[in-house]
């Protein structure tokens, strides 16, 4: 393998090249060489040592993800609310569980969650291994006891958790026009989209929260969405931390694949990107804990148009494991 022949996005080959060149390589490393990281994402993904990622586990997780046996009445699977065709999100404002129970929050897009630091809108799970088991047990979602699930699918709870978490880690979105643009291909974004990028980073103040390769700071912000009629209709992060300052705060969602993941916000209350842009343009819903970064943006109509065009450039290539699900459009 010659040096320097590796394009930045060929991370799998990059890893192998390095591995080949080095003597005494740790065999354990080879086990982890199962993901192709799309352009724009970090090569390093934090994976717990207790659950090293493997192709077998990803495949098992993929099957469990679509397995309706995980719900009490065998009516829904993970994929019901996290539709691969919609960047693993849900077209409905809020998730619908078994017996058509209506949930409280919108099912988020499960892309690039391997880079996440907190899970669920309120961050109540610290790891993916912990997170994937909760919807199974939630009475308004799948309503299953873990021993029952184990019995149904013939796997231990740990095996289920590890497989589902590995699969979710393998769901990646990158290689969008934006990624090519910021890596030097100045033609990858149209002029309109480039104008939108300037609004995104400048007057729009979007990068305050939607920052980095995953377009999220992985933090919790009160943008006022939960403030209705003089009160918080959803406590958000505060229900986890008990801190008053966290009332109405929710985790910043990724903006990758944003054009595919409507409706928006933690409660799916905004149906279109235009509504989202308008919402932030007016500074959100004023409330006692509104994030200090929210204020009226006074965007012009043209700026809003370009901003929407830029956001649409964040559609990229989605893979799960090494399977390409959708190329950018």
């Amino acid at each position: 393998m010659e040096d320097g022949e590796l394009p930045a996005e060929a991370s799998r080959h990059f890893r192998e090249a390095l591995t080949c060149e080095q003597e005494g390589v740790d065999v354990a490393w080879l086990i982890t060489l199962v993901l192709t990281i799309p352009l724009g994402l970090d090569l390093f993904m934090p994976v717990p040592e207790s659950n090293p990622i493997s192709e077998d586990k990803i495949e098992l997780g993929r099957r469990l993800f679509g397995d309706r046996r995980l719900s009490r009445d065998r009516s829904i699977s993970c994929a019901t609310c996290h539709d691969p065709e919609r960047a693993f999100s849900d077209a409905r404002p809020v998730a619908i569980g078994i017996r058509r129970q209506i949930g409280r929050r919108n099912a988020p897009a499960l892309i690039n969650r391997g880079y996440g630091k907190a899970f669920f809108w309120d961050g109540r799970a610290a790891t993916l291994e912990e997170q994937v088991l909760q919807p199974i047990q939630d009475r308004s979602e799948m309503d299953m006891a873990l021993p029952e699930v184990s019995a149904r699918v013939g796997l231990t709870t740990e095996e289920i958790s590890h497989a589902l978490a590995s699969y979710v880690r393998s769901i990646l979105s990158g290689d969008a026009p934006y990624d090519r643009f910021v890596n030097g291909d100045r033609a990858a974004l149209s002029l309109k989209q480039q104008d939108g990028l300037r609004v995104f980073r400048g007057k729009g103040n979007c990068t305050t929260c939607h920052v980095g390769p995953t377009f999220t700071d992985e933090r919790f912000h009160n943008t006022g969405v939960a403030w209705r009629d003089g009160r918080f209709v959803d406590e958000g992060r505060s229900a986890v931390t008990g801190r008053i300052d966290d009332r109405g705060a929710f985790k910043t969602p990724t903006l990758r694949e944003i054009a595919r993941t409507a409706p928006y916000m933690h409660d799916g209350s905004l149906a279109t990107l235009d509504e989202v842009i308008d919402y932030y343009d007016r500074g959100g819903n004023t409330n006692p804990g509104l994030d200090a970064e929210l204020r009226p943006l006074r965007l012009t109509a043209g700026e809003k148009t370009t901003l929407r065009a830029f956001l649409q450039s964040l559609n990229g290539t989605i893979v799960d494991g090494n399977r390409q699900l959708r190329a950018r459009q």
């Binding site: 040096d3 320097g4 022949e5 590796l6 394009p7 930045a8 991370s11 990059f14 890893r15 390095l18 591995t19 060149e21 080095q22 740790d26 490393w29 982890t32 060489l33 990281i37 994402l41 970090d42 090569l43 390093f44 993904m45 934090p46 994976v47 040592e49 643009f181 910021v182 890596n183 030097g184 100045r186 300037r198 980073r201 990068t207 305050t208 920052v211 980095g212 390769p213 700071d217 200090a292 970064e293």
Partner: protein
Amino acid sequence: MNRLAAGVLALLVLASVAPSAQDAERLFKAAINTEMVDGNLKAAIEQYRKVAASGNRALAAQALLRMAECYQKLGDAEAQKIYQRLARDYADQTEAAAVARARLSRGTAPPNANAAGTANRRVWSPGADPSFGTVSADGRYLSYTDWSTGDLFVRDFTTGRNRRVTNKGPFSQSSAFAEESAISRDGRYVAYSWWGTVDGKGNYELRTAPLDGNGPPESRLLVRNDDIGWLAPTDWSPDGKWIAVMIARVDRTVQLGLVSARDGSLQILKSNRWRGASEIFFSPDGKYLAFDSPTGDAQEPSDVYVLAIDGSRETPAVLSPSHEILMGWSPDGRQLLFASDRGGTMGLWAQPMLDGRPTGAPRMVKPDLAPAPLGVTSTGTLFLRASASEQDLFVANVDFDTGKVIGAPVSPVQRYVGTNRTPAWSRDGNLAYVSLRNRIGTDQQVTLVIQSLETGETRELDVPQLNYFQNPNWAPDGRTLLVRGAHVNGKGGIHRVDARTGDVRTIAEAGVGVQESADGKLYYRSLKSETNEAALIENDLTTGARRELFSAASMTLPALSADGRTIAVIVSDRSRQRSTLLLIPVNGDSVRELAQISFQQTDTRPAWMPDGRRIVIRKTQGDGTPELWVVPVDGSPHHKIDLAGPIGNHFAIHPDGRRLAYLAGERKGEVWVLENFLSTTPNSRSDSSSTTLATRRVLEQGAPWDRISPDGRYLARVDNSTSNIQLLDLVTGRTRALTHDGNPEDPDHRYPLASTFSRDGARLAYQWEFEKDDRSVLRVVSTAEQGPATVRTVYDNADVSLAPTDWSADGRWIAAVIRRKDHTAQIGVVGVADGSLRVLKTVDWSRVGGLRFSPDSSLLAYHKPAAEGRFDRDVFVIAVDGSREFVAAASPGDDTVLEWEPTGRRLLIASDRGGSMSVWSVAGTVQAQPTTFELVKSDVGIVSSLGPTRDGSLFYNLLPTGSTTYVAQFDAAKGQLSSAPIQPIQQFKGFNSGGQWSSDGKYLVYASRRDIPAPINVTRVIVPFVSMTTGTVERELLPALSYGNLGRLSPDGRRFIVRGADLKGRSGILSVDAGTGDATLVVPNETCSGVPYWAADGKSFFCYREKQIVQVELSSGAVRRTFAADSQGASASPDGQYIVYGDAGSSGLKLLALATGATRDLIRLPPPSSRVGNSGSIEWTPDSQAVVFYGRVNGDEGMWIAPIDGRAPHKINVAVGPISSWHFNATTGQVVFSTATGFGRLETWKMENFLPKQAGISAKR
């Protein structure tokens, strides 16, 4: 026959007769007892020597091994010879021979003593402050940016030449510059970041240049990307194929990546929000990148991680609440080097590594160093950058009409000197400035300081909501300041900072140099993204309206006139090589050109005089000297302000129109190397000139009273095993007794303490202490090697104790600290010939010292607390004839005397005024106005002088870390720890001891030692209270003691009972208020000589006095009752029933029933197999049913628990030891314990070549 001769004869007799086998066994056990129980190493050596001659080879081998260990502990090179003998002659005794070989392989030194040859020396002083890159693997080349032009150079340490890599011309021709750089391991290439303009748009590039050949190398562009706002190469992979880079994206994402050296392709390994690493280094095998990273939003603290370069895993290598900075890898990749403040000072530590993962605990390599690594060479030499900056703020009284400076400028800031910038006056005359309290090489910690020059009151605001800010300007309201800075989320903007609280409110998103008018308008400079031009912006805070007043290709920050009507800026036209001072009316009237200036750098904002009639600007003359000039607005001639020295680029005029605050002085950087700290590796190939400033560890076991002979060969020290003065030959490692009348068994407790050599080294004056009488006499002993040493008493007065500190050049006078029994302290001189005492000055009792004669002996320098009750000390100089005295150094921090410079004109002091303990030079003959401090050596650590030597060196003691405190859960039923011990204290780690619990069990209380490496009894002890709920120090108590350890907290938690002395020197048992620190003497030493411990009632305490345990009433000091007991450490049971004490006779534990006075054995531990530790390690369980103690039971040393019902004791499984204190928390079931290892240990270092050599000088300097 004197006692010495008798002892020698007896030993000779013993040695001449080989013992029988049985006798040898017995003698071997007795020798162990002598060594381990009595601690008399010398006597033990002689006993082992006799055993070795017994003919029993197995026993002889063991005896030799133990004998070598004794020598090793004594610092005697004889140890090596014995190990060699064991390895050579006792190969059949495999175990002993193997141990000997192992110790030989590591130089016979104690476990961490392979670094005894550790040396730290300066290899380059560029005279400016360049940005250093990295060093090549052979230590020959170092890349750096010369900021006079912005060009990249490579320093060749072999030839001493600097080679130009880029040649862009001066800044007047090109604004481009090289910034960060890294040399490939083979020294053939350098990678560097280059800021340049392409098509009018400035951006960073990554370039490489070959270093082969002689001419200017041709650079090659690897990376240029509009989305990258900043980048820095940090290291090359060992194979030269990859360059590790840190990049900052335009959206403020900071990324760690690899760039292919072949085609420039970039692979991002890891993204962070906006905080990056300060250092990144490849592992020697090229598999890993180590980096440091902040743990939160703030710059500190950081931890160290190791990332596989294929991204497959990241491993935390060093995680702690302390601040850690990566320093590099050992050449074999088995140690990761990092700097950490866990020891209270920034020290170098080494973390053992295996396959990119930490294995085992880190060890401290060096207590103090500049945490700015430039790389580790293949031979294990660490290159470091050190700051020697002298640039800081000054205030001058100026007649602006004439430009004359009235009086000498003063330096009003004496804390963190060299770091203070950007002065701004408030309307009421308060001076605000920023203090860049950087740890060199890392992001800077910015502190906003507001100081009243009238009262000296200083308020420091850390402004935690901002991670960086600059250029503070007072708002018209006088209560807030406007700063340009970055919020913790990384976003830049203009922020309003409350001058009282530090609260921050963001008021604008862009712009620099903001000023506010009285009608609420902001004026600042902004960059127009479309044209890259600088624009002058008016932002109406009321309406939100923004207006561009003016734009130009280049302009300084704007200055708003006091009436708010006019802005002054200097604009520059590079093409015409011209700069112009403009007046821009804010009402839109036409712009006026006030003055044409030859083309200058445009980084200095003008300043308006308060009257609005003149403007002060900085102009750089043709020779590069910056000057300040007054430019009248009416067009009158300009005139220069008559200030000397290089004027920095920040200045401000006081509202009174008569004072000027300005930045002045040179910024300097230095390159240092740390050698031989990993193993006995050869020195690096860099310049090893013997004339370079260097520090070198010469002894791992220093002692507080040690003094160095003028020739640098001998240390005079107290031999505690014999209570005599001895000379340690630093060349041979041998010791020689100077006095022989000391006796550790002496019931009168006589022993030597402080000493000082005469200038010719022929005599030593020393303090001979009579502890029983609480006095000392001054003696002089000859040091000649031939013939018996002669001892003469020079001064003997029952009312006085004299501690000699220095000897006059003519040998006639000895300077001494005088302490009288009426608790008066004085400084004075004693006539050597007649014992006459001349008292020069009466001083506060506490913490006076450092007396040093000037070279002509006319002056004495000394240090003492700045004021009564204060702990920080200042340096004074007093004439020996008493005619005058003046302050030589008075910083808000601690200043202590080290030595005079040979010229006698300046004094060397240790001071923490620069933020770390460093060596400074100050004027020594007259009080300088202002005091001019010159930095000699930064980051020396906590030191005390042992004296100078004729070769221009200074020997000093340095305080390394020692004790560690642990907290663990204790299972009372099993009598064992039930959780792994944790280290709850992370600050001043290693300097803390005596952990105990508050009465409610919520707070961990301990003694934190933060002072000079002096005897423990003059060390300042701070008592922090750590909340076990939050883990934070909620308060720190400063006991009003001149000495004393922590003592014990009373059962009600309201006071400590301490043996020590108050600030007046009244010694005895004191009660210290746990709330205020006030100390009250309860009883003098005559009543109690031992360490006190509380009775269960909390109204009385027990202590030891002449084979009695005495119970004393706290309120009155009256003795309530006494018990016969030969106690060596004791503790009273919580239920008030018993005292357990270590019995001096049996070495066991005895139980004293307080109701009856009856005593019974709890444990009998006859020597030599057993012993009980000191008082701090005997403790009752909360239920009063058992005691725990540290000791050796049947040869098994450790922490033991002994039920009082007679059941056998069992050992508590604690992995660490020896343990000096242990305390139960009755509320939580936890225990806190501290190790005694290394506590109080000192190292002796030598600073070479910082003074001119004193060749041929013997009687005077």
